[in-house]
Protein backbone atom coordinates (compact mmCIF):
# COMPACT_ATOMS: atom_id res chain seq x y z
CA UNK A 1 0.00 0.00 0.00
CA UNK A 2 1.42 3.35 -1.07
CA UNK A 3 3.07 5.54 1.57
CA UNK A 4 3.05 9.30 1.14
CA UNK A 5 6.70 10.36 1.49
CA UNK A 6 8.92 13.26 0.58
CA UNK A 7 10.89 12.69 -2.61
CA UNK A 8 14.13 12.63 -0.63
CA UNK A 9 12.78 9.96 1.67
CA UNK A 10 11.26 7.90 -1.14
CA UNK A 11 14.51 7.82 -3.15
CA UNK A 12 16.51 7.26 0.03
CA UNK A 13 14.48 4.26 1.06
CA UNK A 14 13.64 2.66 -2.26
CA UNK A 15 16.58 3.24 -4.65
CA UNK A 16 19.79 1.42 -3.76
CA UNK A 17 23.26 1.26 -5.31
CA UNK A 18 23.36 -1.41 -7.98
CA UNK A 19 19.60 -1.44 -8.53
CA UNK A 20 17.91 -1.74 -11.88
CA UNK A 21 15.90 1.48 -12.12
CA UNK A 22 13.38 2.57 -14.74
CA UNK A 23 12.30 6.22 -14.83
CA UNK A 24 9.67 6.03 -17.55
CA UNK A 25 7.84 8.63 -19.56
CA UNK A 26 7.25 9.24 -23.23
CA UNK A 27 8.02 12.97 -23.77
CA UNK A 28 5.15 13.72 -21.36
CA UNK A 29 5.41 13.37 -17.55
CA UNK A 30 9.15 12.61 -17.38
CA UNK A 31 10.16 12.09 -13.71
CA UNK A 32 12.98 14.63 -13.89
CA UNK A 33 12.95 15.75 -10.25
CA UNK A 34 13.21 12.13 -9.08
CA UNK A 35 16.15 11.50 -11.42
CA UNK A 36 17.95 14.55 -10.07
CA UNK A 37 17.28 13.42 -6.51
CA UNK A 38 19.04 10.13 -7.37
CA UNK A 39 22.02 12.19 -8.55
CA UNK A 40 21.97 14.26 -5.32
CA UNK A 41 21.94 11.12 -3.23
CA UNK A 42 24.95 9.83 -5.18
CA UNK A 43 23.69 6.40 -6.24
CA UNK A 44 26.24 4.28 -8.09
CA UNK A 45 26.24 1.23 -10.34
CA UNK A 46 22.63 1.56 -11.46
CA UNK A 47 21.29 -0.29 -14.45
CA UNK A 48 19.08 2.39 -15.96
CA UNK A 49 16.16 1.27 -18.10
CA UNK A 50 14.05 3.41 -20.39
CA UNK A 51 12.61 3.30 -23.88
CA UNK A 52 13.51 6.94 -24.56
CA UNK A 53 16.39 8.09 -22.30
CA UNK A 54 16.52 11.86 -22.64
CA UNK A 55 18.20 14.70 -20.79
CA UNK A 56 17.59 13.44 -17.24
CA UNK A 57 19.26 10.16 -18.25
CA UNK A 58 22.10 12.18 -19.80
CA UNK A 59 22.43 13.86 -16.39
CA UNK A 60 22.40 10.57 -14.47
CA UNK A 61 24.98 9.09 -16.84
CA UNK A 62 27.18 12.19 -16.72
CA UNK A 63 27.01 12.14 -12.92
CA UNK A 64 28.36 8.59 -12.92
CA UNK A 65 25.28 6.97 -11.38
CA UNK A 66 24.89 4.31 -14.08
CA UNK A 67 26.96 1.36 -15.18
CA UNK A 68 24.48 0.11 -17.76
CA UNK A 69 21.71 1.47 -19.95
CA UNK A 70 18.88 -0.62 -21.40
CA UNK A 71 17.06 1.43 -24.03
CA UNK A 72 15.60 1.78 -27.51
CA UNK A 73 16.06 5.46 -28.44
CA UNK A 74 18.50 7.79 -26.70
CA UNK A 75 18.32 11.41 -27.74
CA UNK A 76 17.35 14.95 -26.89
CA UNK A 77 13.92 15.03 -28.58
CA UNK A 78 13.68 17.78 -31.16
CA UNK A 79 17.28 18.88 -30.48
CA UNK A 80 19.82 16.17 -31.19
CA UNK A 81 22.22 13.89 -29.37
CA UNK A 82 22.82 13.15 -25.71
CA UNK A 83 26.42 14.17 -25.31
CA UNK A 84 26.99 12.67 -21.85
CA UNK A 85 25.59 9.36 -23.12
CA UNK A 86 27.91 9.51 -26.16
CA UNK A 87 30.88 10.42 -23.99
CA UNK A 88 30.23 7.48 -21.68
CA UNK A 89 29.78 5.00 -24.54
CA UNK A 90 32.66 6.30 -26.65
CA UNK A 91 35.14 7.39 -23.94
CA UNK A 92 34.06 5.74 -20.68
CA UNK A 93 33.58 9.17 -19.07
CA UNK A 94 33.10 9.46 -16.13
CA UNK A 95 32.68 5.67 -15.89
CA UNK A 96 32.16 2.98 -18.54
CA UNK A 97 28.57 2.48 -19.65
CA UNK A 98 27.46 -0.90 -20.91
CA UNK A 99 24.49 -0.80 -23.24
CA UNK A 100 21.67 -3.23 -24.03
CA UNK A 101 19.87 -1.99 -27.07
CA UNK A 102 16.37 -2.83 -28.31
CA UNK A 103 13.63 -1.39 -30.47
CA UNK A 104 10.59 0.36 -28.98
CA UNK A 105 8.38 -2.61 -29.81
CA UNK A 106 10.80 -4.92 -28.03
CA UNK A 107 11.13 -2.73 -24.94
CA UNK A 108 7.37 -2.19 -24.70
CA UNK A 109 6.81 -5.93 -24.86
CA UNK A 110 9.52 -6.57 -22.28
CA UNK A 111 7.61 -4.34 -19.85
CA UNK A 112 4.34 -6.08 -20.78
CA UNK A 113 5.89 -9.45 -19.97
CA UNK A 114 7.21 -8.04 -16.71
CA UNK A 115 3.81 -6.64 -15.76
CA UNK A 116 2.18 -9.95 -16.69
CA UNK A 117 4.38 -12.19 -14.58
CA UNK A 118 5.71 -13.93 -17.69
CA UNK A 119 9.42 -14.58 -18.32
CA UNK A 120 9.25 -13.44 -21.94
CA UNK A 121 7.16 -11.81 -24.66
CA UNK A 122 6.69 -12.67 -28.32
CA UNK A 123 6.65 -10.18 -31.16
CA UNK A 124 7.30 -9.74 -34.85
CA UNK A 125 10.40 -7.69 -34.45
CA UNK A 126 14.06 -7.10 -35.28
CA UNK A 127 13.86 -9.24 -38.42
CA UNK A 128 16.75 -8.61 -40.77
CA UNK A 129 18.34 -6.00 -38.54
CA UNK A 130 21.80 -6.04 -36.93
CA UNK A 131 20.35 -5.70 -33.42
CA UNK A 132 20.09 -9.44 -32.53
CA UNK A 133 23.83 -9.83 -33.23
CA UNK A 134 24.62 -7.20 -30.58
CA UNK A 135 21.88 -7.87 -28.06
CA UNK A 136 21.82 -11.16 -26.24
CA UNK A 137 18.22 -10.59 -25.08
CA UNK A 138 16.71 -11.08 -28.54
CA UNK A 139 16.08 -14.70 -29.49
CA UNK A 140 14.02 -16.69 -31.96
CA UNK A 141 10.94 -18.63 -30.91
CA UNK A 142 8.74 -21.01 -32.88
CA UNK A 143 4.94 -21.01 -32.83
CA UNK A 144 3.81 -24.40 -31.49
CA UNK A 145 0.74 -24.32 -33.77
CA UNK A 146 1.98 -22.96 -37.11
CA UNK A 147 5.73 -23.54 -36.92
CA UNK A 148 6.28 -19.89 -37.75
CA UNK A 149 9.50 -18.24 -36.49
CA UNK A 150 9.02 -15.15 -34.30
CA UNK A 151 11.10 -13.16 -31.85
CA UNK A 152 11.20 -13.48 -28.07
CA UNK A 153 12.46 -10.89 -25.59
CA UNK A 154 12.81 -11.43 -21.83
CA UNK A 155 10.66 -9.67 -19.25
CA UNK A 156 11.88 -6.45 -17.69
CA UNK A 157 11.34 -6.41 -13.92
CA UNK A 158 13.10 -3.34 -12.52
CA UNK A 159 13.96 -3.25 -8.83
CA UNK A 160 12.24 0.11 -8.82
CA UNK A 161 10.22 2.04 -11.36
CA UNK A 162 9.70 5.79 -11.01
CA UNK A 163 7.02 7.71 -12.90
CA UNK A 164 5.43 11.12 -12.64
CA UNK A 165 1.65 11.59 -12.66
CA UNK A 166 -0.79 14.46 -12.40
CA UNK A 167 -2.52 13.42 -9.19
CA UNK A 168 -2.85 11.04 -6.31
CA UNK A 169 -5.44 10.89 -3.56
CA UNK A 170 -4.56 10.68 0.12
CA UNK A 171 -4.68 6.87 0.03
CA UNK A 172 -2.03 6.84 -2.68
CA UNK A 173 -4.23 5.99 -5.67
CA UNK A 174 -2.59 7.59 -8.71
CA UNK A 175 -4.22 9.17 -11.75
CA UNK A 176 -2.50 10.22 -14.97
CA UNK A 177 -3.84 11.23 -18.36
CA UNK A 178 -2.74 12.34 -21.80
CA UNK A 179 0.13 10.34 -23.26
CA UNK A 180 0.78 7.69 -20.61
CA UNK A 181 3.21 5.63 -22.65
CA UNK A 182 4.41 2.48 -20.96
CA UNK A 183 4.13 3.79 -17.40
CA UNK A 184 1.44 1.40 -16.16
CA UNK A 185 3.42 -1.59 -17.38
CA UNK A 186 6.69 -0.24 -15.97
CA UNK A 187 5.15 0.21 -12.51
CA UNK A 188 3.42 -3.18 -12.54
CA UNK A 189 6.62 -4.88 -13.71
CA UNK A 190 8.70 -3.46 -10.87
CA UNK A 191 9.40 -4.86 -7.42
CA UNK A 192 9.03 -1.35 -5.93
CA UNK A 193 7.70 1.90 -7.33
CA UNK A 194 7.74 5.63 -6.66
CA UNK A 195 5.22 8.00 -8.20
CA UNK A 196 5.84 11.74 -8.01
CA UNK A 197 2.68 13.79 -8.57
CA UNK A 198 1.76 17.38 -9.29
CA UNK A 199 -0.69 17.39 -6.43
CA UNK A 200 -2.37 15.26 -3.82
CA UNK A 201 -6.13 15.74 -3.83
CA UNK A 202 -9.07 14.57 -1.74
CA UNK A 203 -10.74 12.76 -4.58
CA UNK A 204 -9.72 11.65 -8.06
CA UNK A 205 -12.67 12.67 -10.16
CA UNK A 206 -12.88 10.49 -13.29
CA UNK A 207 -11.35 12.02 -16.42
CA UNK A 208 -11.37 10.96 -20.07
CA UNK A 209 -8.33 8.93 -20.97
CA UNK A 210 -7.15 8.61 -17.39
CA UNK A 211 -5.08 5.67 -16.22
CA UNK A 212 -5.45 4.81 -12.53
CA UNK A 213 -2.81 2.93 -10.57
CA UNK A 214 -4.42 1.65 -7.35
CA UNK A 215 -2.50 2.41 -4.17
CA UNK A 216 -1.86 -1.27 -3.52
CA UNK A 217 0.55 -1.56 -6.48
CA UNK A 218 2.53 1.59 -5.64
CA UNK A 219 5.22 1.71 -2.92
CA UNK A 220 5.48 5.46 -2.41
CA UNK A 221 3.84 8.65 -3.62
CA UNK A 222 5.67 11.98 -3.32
CA UNK A 223 4.08 15.34 -4.03
CA UNK A 224 6.50 17.21 -6.30
CA UNK A 225 4.82 20.09 -8.14
CA UNK A 226 6.70 20.72 -11.37
CA UNK A 227 8.44 17.37 -10.97
CA UNK A 228 8.31 16.70 -14.71
CA UNK A 229 9.85 20.02 -15.81
CA UNK A 230 11.26 20.81 -18.35
CA UNK A 231 8.94 18.16 -19.87
CA UNK A 232 5.23 18.82 -19.58
CA UNK A 233 2.28 17.70 -17.46
CA UNK A 234 -1.01 17.95 -19.35
CA UNK A 235 -3.36 20.19 -17.40
CA UNK A 236 -0.48 21.74 -15.41
CA UNK A 237 2.30 23.17 -17.57
CA UNK A 238 3.77 23.11 -21.05
CA UNK A 239 7.04 21.72 -22.26
CA UNK A 240 9.96 24.15 -21.88
CA UNK A 241 11.57 23.61 -25.26
CA UNK A 242 14.29 26.17 -24.55
CA UNK A 243 15.52 24.09 -21.61
CA UNK A 244 16.02 21.13 -23.94
CA UNK A 245 17.94 23.35 -26.33
CA UNK A 246 19.99 24.81 -23.49
CA UNK A 247 20.92 21.31 -22.35
CA UNK A 248 22.67 20.73 -25.65
CA UNK A 249 25.25 23.38 -24.74
CA UNK A 250 25.72 22.15 -21.19
CA UNK A 251 25.84 18.46 -22.03
CA UNK A 252 28.26 18.98 -24.90
CA UNK A 253 31.16 19.97 -22.65
CA UNK A 254 32.58 18.10 -19.64
CA UNK A 255 33.46 21.31 -17.82
CA UNK A 256 30.12 22.96 -18.42
CA UNK A 257 28.43 19.77 -17.30
CA UNK A 258 30.55 19.52 -14.16
CA UNK A 259 29.62 23.07 -13.27
CA UNK A 260 25.95 22.22 -13.76
CA UNK A 261 26.35 19.08 -11.64
CA UNK A 262 27.99 20.94 -8.78
CA UNK A 263 25.19 23.46 -8.82
CA UNK A 264 22.61 20.69 -8.71
CA UNK A 265 24.30 19.08 -5.74
CA UNK A 266 24.87 22.46 -4.14
CA UNK A 267 21.12 23.07 -4.14
CA UNK A 268 20.87 20.53 -1.41
CA UNK A 269 23.97 21.50 0.57
Amino acid sequence: MAELLSLEEAVGRLVHDGDTVALEGFTHLIPVAAGQEIIRQGRRGLTLVRMTPDIVYDQLIGAGCASKLVFSWGGNPGVGSLHRFRDAVQHDWPVPLEIEEHSHAGMANRYVAGASGLPFAVLRGYTGTDLPAQTETIRPITCPFTGERLTAVPALNPDVTIVHAQRADRSGNVQMWGITGVQKEAVLAAKRSIVTVEEIVDELEPRPGAVVLPAWVVSAVAEVPGGAKPSYAAGYYERDNSAYQAWDEIGRDREEFTKWLNELKGVKA
Binding site: F26, T27, H28, M51, T52, F71, S72, W73, G74, G75, P77, G78, S81, L82, F85, R86, V89, Q90, E101, H102, S103, H104, A105, A108, N109, Y111, V112, L123, R124, G125, Y126, T127, G128, T129, D130, L131, Q134, E148, R149, G178, I179, T180, G181, V182, K184, E185, G209, Y232, A234, E238, R239, N241
Partner: protein, 250 residues
Protein backbone atom coordinates in the same frame (compact mmCIF):
# COMPACT_ATOMS: atom_id res chain seq x y z
CA UNK B 1 7.58 36.29 -55.58
CA UNK B 2 5.45 33.73 -53.80
CA UNK B 3 6.58 30.76 -55.93
CA UNK B 4 10.20 31.09 -54.82
CA UNK B 5 10.92 28.17 -52.56
CA UNK B 6 13.81 26.40 -50.85
CA UNK B 7 15.09 22.89 -51.52
CA UNK B 8 13.79 21.85 -48.10
CA UNK B 9 10.35 23.16 -48.96
CA UNK B 10 10.39 21.23 -52.23
CA UNK B 11 11.40 18.09 -50.31
CA UNK B 12 8.56 18.43 -47.80
CA UNK B 13 6.02 19.11 -50.51
CA UNK B 14 7.18 16.19 -52.66
CA UNK B 15 7.02 13.93 -49.60
CA UNK B 16 3.54 15.15 -48.71
CA UNK B 17 2.24 14.47 -52.20
CA UNK B 18 3.06 10.79 -51.81
CA UNK B 19 0.39 10.45 -49.12
CA UNK B 20 -3.06 9.91 -50.57
CA UNK B 21 -6.33 10.85 -48.91
CA UNK B 22 -7.84 8.12 -46.72
CA UNK B 23 -4.51 6.44 -46.05
CA UNK B 24 -3.18 5.68 -42.59
CA UNK B 25 0.38 6.73 -41.86
CA UNK B 26 2.71 5.84 -38.99
CA UNK B 27 4.67 9.06 -38.62
CA UNK B 28 8.27 9.46 -37.56
CA UNK B 29 9.25 12.78 -36.02
CA UNK B 30 11.02 15.56 -37.90
CA UNK B 31 10.79 15.67 -41.68
CA UNK B 32 8.24 12.81 -41.92
CA UNK B 33 5.92 14.53 -39.46
CA UNK B 34 6.17 17.80 -41.36
CA UNK B 35 5.33 16.09 -44.65
CA UNK B 36 2.44 14.12 -43.17
CA UNK B 37 0.91 17.17 -41.56
CA UNK B 38 1.32 19.13 -44.76
CA UNK B 39 -0.45 16.36 -46.70
CA UNK B 40 -3.37 16.39 -44.27
CA UNK B 41 -3.73 20.15 -44.68
CA UNK B 42 -3.06 20.42 -48.38
CA UNK B 43 -4.81 17.54 -50.16
CA UNK B 44 -5.52 14.60 -47.80
CA UNK B 45 -7.93 15.75 -45.07
CA UNK B 46 -8.77 12.11 -44.28
CA UNK B 47 -5.19 11.00 -43.78
CA UNK B 48 -4.97 9.18 -40.45
CA UNK B 49 -1.79 10.06 -38.56
CA UNK B 50 -0.49 7.56 -36.02
CA UNK B 51 2.33 8.45 -33.64
CA UNK B 52 4.29 5.90 -31.61
CA UNK B 53 3.42 7.77 -28.41
CA UNK B 54 -0.03 6.16 -28.77
CA UNK B 55 -1.91 8.93 -30.60
CA UNK B 56 -4.24 7.47 -33.24
CA UNK B 57 -5.72 9.94 -35.71
CA UNK B 58 -3.87 13.00 -34.40
CA UNK B 59 -4.84 16.30 -36.06
CA UNK B 60 -2.27 18.79 -34.71
CA UNK B 61 -2.84 22.44 -35.55
CA UNK B 62 0.87 23.18 -35.41
CA UNK B 63 3.91 21.04 -36.14
CA UNK B 64 4.73 18.82 -33.16
CA UNK B 65 8.30 19.09 -31.89
CA UNK B 66 8.33 15.53 -30.61
CA UNK B 67 6.27 12.38 -31.08
CA UNK B 68 4.77 13.00 -27.64
CA UNK B 69 3.51 16.58 -27.84
CA UNK B 70 0.34 17.31 -25.90
CA UNK B 71 -1.28 18.64 -29.06
CA UNK B 72 -1.10 15.13 -30.57
CA UNK B 73 -3.01 13.62 -27.66
CA UNK B 74 -5.52 16.47 -27.46
CA UNK B 75 -6.52 16.14 -31.11
CA UNK B 76 -6.35 12.34 -31.47
CA UNK B 77 -9.35 10.06 -32.06
CA UNK B 78 -7.90 7.83 -29.36
CA UNK B 79 -4.80 7.78 -27.19
CA UNK B 80 -3.61 4.28 -26.38
CA UNK B 81 -0.63 2.92 -24.48
CA UNK B 82 2.72 2.48 -26.19
CA UNK B 83 2.54 -1.33 -26.03
CA UNK B 84 -0.90 -1.14 -27.64
CA UNK B 85 0.19 1.11 -30.50
CA UNK B 86 2.94 -1.33 -31.41
CA UNK B 87 1.05 -4.57 -30.78
CA UNK B 88 -2.53 -3.89 -31.83
CA UNK B 89 -2.01 -1.17 -34.43
CA UNK B 90 1.40 -1.48 -36.07
CA UNK B 91 2.29 -5.18 -35.85
CA UNK B 92 -0.78 -6.67 -37.63
CA UNK B 93 -0.09 -4.61 -40.76
CA UNK B 94 -3.13 -2.32 -40.42
CA UNK B 95 -1.17 0.79 -41.37
CA UNK B 96 -0.69 1.72 -45.01
CA UNK B 97 2.49 3.78 -44.87
CA UNK B 98 5.39 4.08 -42.49
CA UNK B 99 7.09 7.43 -42.92
CA UNK B 100 10.67 7.46 -41.67
CA UNK B 101 13.79 9.56 -41.56
CA UNK B 102 17.33 8.16 -41.44
CA UNK B 103 20.90 9.09 -40.53
CA UNK B 104 22.34 6.72 -43.14
CA UNK B 105 20.54 5.03 -46.01
CA UNK B 106 21.99 2.52 -48.42
CA UNK B 107 21.21 1.67 -52.00
CA UNK B 108 18.78 -1.06 -50.99
CA UNK B 109 16.84 1.22 -48.67
CA UNK B 110 18.28 -0.15 -45.42
CA UNK B 111 18.30 2.45 -42.66
CA UNK B 112 20.95 3.12 -40.02
CA UNK B 113 20.17 5.22 -36.94
CA UNK B 114 22.43 3.29 -34.53
CA UNK B 115 26.16 3.83 -35.03
CA UNK B 116 28.48 5.35 -37.61
CA UNK B 117 31.63 3.27 -37.97
CA UNK B 118 32.18 -0.43 -38.35
CA UNK B 119 32.62 -1.28 -34.66
CA UNK B 120 29.37 -1.25 -32.70
CA UNK B 121 31.30 -1.19 -29.43
CA UNK B 122 33.65 1.60 -30.47
CA UNK B 123 31.65 3.71 -32.87
CA UNK B 124 32.78 6.85 -34.61
CA UNK B 125 29.42 8.35 -33.78
CA UNK B 126 26.82 6.94 -31.46
CA UNK B 127 23.36 7.75 -32.89
CA UNK B 128 20.08 7.63 -30.92
CA UNK B 129 19.18 4.07 -31.89
CA UNK B 130 16.21 2.22 -33.29
CA UNK B 131 13.11 3.67 -31.64
CA UNK B 132 10.05 2.38 -33.45
CA UNK B 133 11.66 2.21 -36.87
CA UNK B 134 12.59 -1.50 -37.25
CA UNK B 135 9.00 -2.64 -36.78
CA UNK B 136 7.54 0.31 -38.72
CA UNK B 137 9.79 -0.65 -41.63
CA UNK B 138 8.76 -4.30 -41.29
CA UNK B 139 5.00 -4.06 -40.78
CA UNK B 140 3.58 -1.09 -42.67
CA UNK B 141 2.13 -1.69 -46.12
CA UNK B 142 4.97 0.34 -47.58
CA UNK B 143 7.65 2.72 -46.34
CA UNK B 144 8.48 6.24 -47.44
CA UNK B 145 11.81 7.74 -46.37
CA UNK B 146 12.65 11.40 -46.36
CA UNK B 147 16.12 12.89 -45.82
CA UNK B 148 18.54 15.38 -47.27
CA UNK B 149 20.86 13.92 -49.84
CA UNK B 150 24.64 13.78 -49.27
CA UNK B 151 27.36 11.20 -49.88
CA UNK B 152 27.72 10.73 -46.11
CA UNK B 153 24.05 9.92 -45.71
CA UNK B 154 23.53 7.94 -48.93
CA UNK B 155 26.00 5.09 -48.72
CA UNK B 156 26.69 1.89 -50.62
CA UNK B 157 26.07 -0.16 -47.48
CA UNK B 158 24.95 1.11 -44.09
CA UNK B 159 27.33 0.57 -41.16
CA UNK B 160 24.49 -0.96 -39.15
CA UNK B 161 21.08 -2.19 -40.32
CA UNK B 162 18.72 -0.61 -37.81
CA UNK B 163 15.68 -0.99 -40.05
CA UNK B 164 15.51 -3.46 -42.88
CA UNK B 165 14.73 -2.12 -46.33
CA UNK B 166 15.42 -4.52 -49.21
CA UNK B 167 18.48 -6.15 -47.60
CA UNK B 168 20.90 -7.10 -50.37
CA UNK B 169 18.30 -6.85 -53.09
CA UNK B 170 15.02 -8.05 -54.52
CA UNK B 171 13.44 -10.99 -52.72
CA UNK B 172 15.20 -10.58 -49.37
CA UNK B 173 12.04 -9.33 -47.62
CA UNK B 174 10.04 -12.30 -48.86
CA UNK B 175 12.76 -14.69 -47.67
CA UNK B 176 12.55 -13.19 -44.18
CA UNK B 177 8.75 -13.25 -44.21
CA UNK B 178 8.41 -9.49 -43.79
CA UNK B 179 4.83 -8.60 -44.57
CA UNK B 180 5.10 -5.05 -45.95
CA UNK B 181 6.56 -3.98 -49.29
CA UNK B 182 9.38 -2.06 -47.61
CA UNK B 183 10.72 1.24 -48.92
CA UNK B 184 8.92 2.22 -52.12
CA UNK B 185 9.94 5.88 -52.17
CA UNK B 186 12.82 8.04 -50.97
CA UNK B 187 12.29 11.78 -51.06
CA UNK B 188 15.29 14.10 -50.84
CA UNK B 189 16.01 17.77 -51.35
CA UNK B 190 17.19 16.92 -54.86
CA UNK B 191 14.66 14.45 -56.18
CA UNK B 192 12.90 11.11 -55.73
CA UNK B 193 14.29 7.58 -55.75
CA UNK B 194 12.37 4.32 -56.07
CA UNK B 195 13.54 0.72 -55.91
CA UNK B 196 14.18 -0.75 -59.33
CA UNK B 197 11.44 -3.34 -60.00
CA UNK B 198 14.03 -5.98 -60.93
CA UNK B 199 16.81 -5.40 -58.41
CA UNK B 200 15.26 -3.26 -55.65
CA UNK B 201 18.22 -0.87 -55.97
CA UNK B 202 17.22 2.73 -55.31
CA UNK B 203 17.08 4.51 -58.63
CA UNK B 204 16.58 8.19 -59.33
CA UNK B 205 13.17 8.61 -60.95
CA UNK B 206 12.59 12.34 -60.54
CA UNK B 207 14.66 15.47 -60.12
CA UNK B 208 13.23 18.54 -58.48
CA UNK B 209 12.93 21.55 -60.80
CA UNK B 210 16.27 23.29 -61.39
CA UNK B 211 18.36 20.43 -59.97
CA UNK B 212 21.02 19.06 -62.31
CA UNK B 213 21.44 15.29 -62.64
CA UNK B 214 25.10 15.71 -61.76
CA UNK B 215 24.19 17.26 -58.40
CA UNK B 216 22.14 14.20 -57.49
CA UNK B 217 24.85 11.81 -58.63
CA UNK B 218 27.51 13.65 -56.60
CA UNK B 219 25.30 13.72 -53.54
CA UNK B 220 24.99 9.93 -53.59
CA UNK B 221 27.63 7.66 -52.06
CA UNK B 222 27.07 4.88 -54.58
CA UNK B 223 26.94 4.92 -58.35
CA UNK B 224 23.44 6.21 -58.71
CA UNK B 225 21.30 4.58 -61.35
CA UNK B 226 18.91 6.81 -63.21
CA UNK B 227 15.54 5.80 -64.60
CA UNK B 228 15.22 5.77 -68.38
CA UNK B 229 12.27 8.10 -68.16
CA UNK B 230 13.70 10.51 -65.58
CA UNK B 231 11.05 13.10 -64.81
CA UNK B 232 10.96 16.49 -63.20
CA UNK B 233 8.92 16.95 -60.04
CA UNK B 234 6.16 19.50 -60.53
CA UNK B 235 7.15 22.70 -58.76
CA UNK B 236 5.34 23.54 -55.52
CA UNK B 237 2.02 25.23 -56.10
CA UNK B 238 1.20 28.45 -54.38
CA UNK B 239 -1.36 26.63 -52.26
CA UNK B 240 1.20 24.03 -51.16
CA UNK B 241 3.71 26.69 -50.19
CA UNK B 242 1.11 28.72 -48.34
CA UNK B 243 -0.04 25.73 -46.31
CA UNK B 244 3.52 24.62 -45.56
CA UNK B 245 4.56 28.08 -44.40
CA UNK B 246 1.46 28.47 -42.24
CA UNK B 247 2.16 25.09 -40.70
CA UNK B 248 5.76 26.02 -39.88
CA UNK B 249 4.71 29.33 -38.43
CA UNK B 250 1.84 28.04 -36.26
Amino acid sequence: MSTDYTADEMMSIAAARALGDGMSCFVGIGLPSKAANLARRAHAPNLTLIYESGCLGAKPSHLPLSIGDGELADTADAVVSVPEVFNYWLQPGRIDVGFLGAAQLDKFGNINTTVIGSDYHDPKVRLPGAGGAPEIAASCGEVFIVLRQSPRAFVEKVDFVTSFGHGTGKGDREKLGLPGKGPTLVVTDLGLMRPDPETAELTLTELHPGVELDQAVKATGWTLKVADDLKVTPAPTEQELTVLRELEKA
